[in-house]
Amino acid sequence: MAGNDLVDRIAAADPGSGSLMRAHNSAFMEQPLPFYRRFRAVLITVRLPERPVELRFADDGNEAIPVASAAGIYAVNAREGLRLDADQVAPYFRFFYANTAGRTRYLVESGDRVPWFDAADMDAELEQRKVAARALIRPINVVATSDGRFRVTATAIDQKTLLRLSYVVSADGRVEAAEPIELLEGIPVPYVGL
């Protein structure tokens, strides 16, 4: 359990999350982020009877801010006076996507780090789909554009669909997303329960 001060700050920032994590067994994870000087990322996993729920905040010891939305992350960026350099864009994007993409979507950066369905190596059709999906997975790619921003491409999974993501990230952390491109449907990974 985290210190009472952190719990109080989170409850003050979001009373609903505060009551939820106080009513159920909750695990706290805190860590620094390479693009923030003061704020640390806080991930709270609340063990509801039905399934886990993740709550996400940034905290600087004085103030906790909910960051499970672009607006929340922008609020932290403003307090930090964020100016991303090229090396910070991939970790920033990773943080941004994990916090805002939704419960069933997640980045995949390598075919070795995909939660392939266990049967994918034992069934010829599933194995074929796995091979096809692996060939389409790319790590996060960051390219600086002439206007001082960064073009980010990445691969993600939403349930059983492999997606190509295309974003533009400004140095102050503002993110513009293009509509994801569906690369492959029915890939052999588990459903995420709703």
Partner: protein, 211 residues
Amino acid sequence: MLANSQTGKDAVKYLDDHHIAIVTGPAAGGSYWDSANNQMVIGNDQNAEQAALTVAHETNHAHYDKDGLAANVVNDTKDNYVNGRINEEAEGTVKSIQAKNEMVAGGKPTAAKFPLEDEYNKAHDDAVAKYNHDHPNAPAADAEAAGKQAGQDRVVAGFKNGSREVVSSVPKTDAAGNVINGPDGKPIHENYTDYYTRDWNNNHPAPAAGP
């Protein structure tokens, strides 16, 4: 939207009767039944169709919780607890699938899909066909009941350990969003059986070894 299905109407009536609020919450948290606040939280990334199906699902959790049907982590045996929780989850999943099927049958095209929907429908349709073949003079309602049971059984199987068709969360990340790998080098994600088993074990610690 839920008014286009009987399952949906039943869900809305239950929420009204029990004064359960529906609120939106962060997308990352998804949708869940919040018993402490007598409310249902719907992830704000969901469109109206997805939210409608999710309300049908989460209402089932509210019903189990408020009407004393939920498995009890303290009093139940491990097997009864895990199976009870999985059956509750599967039943809620089936409610969402049935709500969608009723909406579609009533002329309301619905693009949103729920996990195991295709699997449920195939098991249902196969069972109905088999029942009609084996019982050519039986009432249609009997064949439909057989279909629903087969669909529910298929969904339960999807949540059970071993099949790993459905997991309780996306691969675990740290607070910065980096995927965490387990000892086998693979991303960590827990299926429902493992999740419920861990909860039961946490509530029933092994007795300390004797002297």
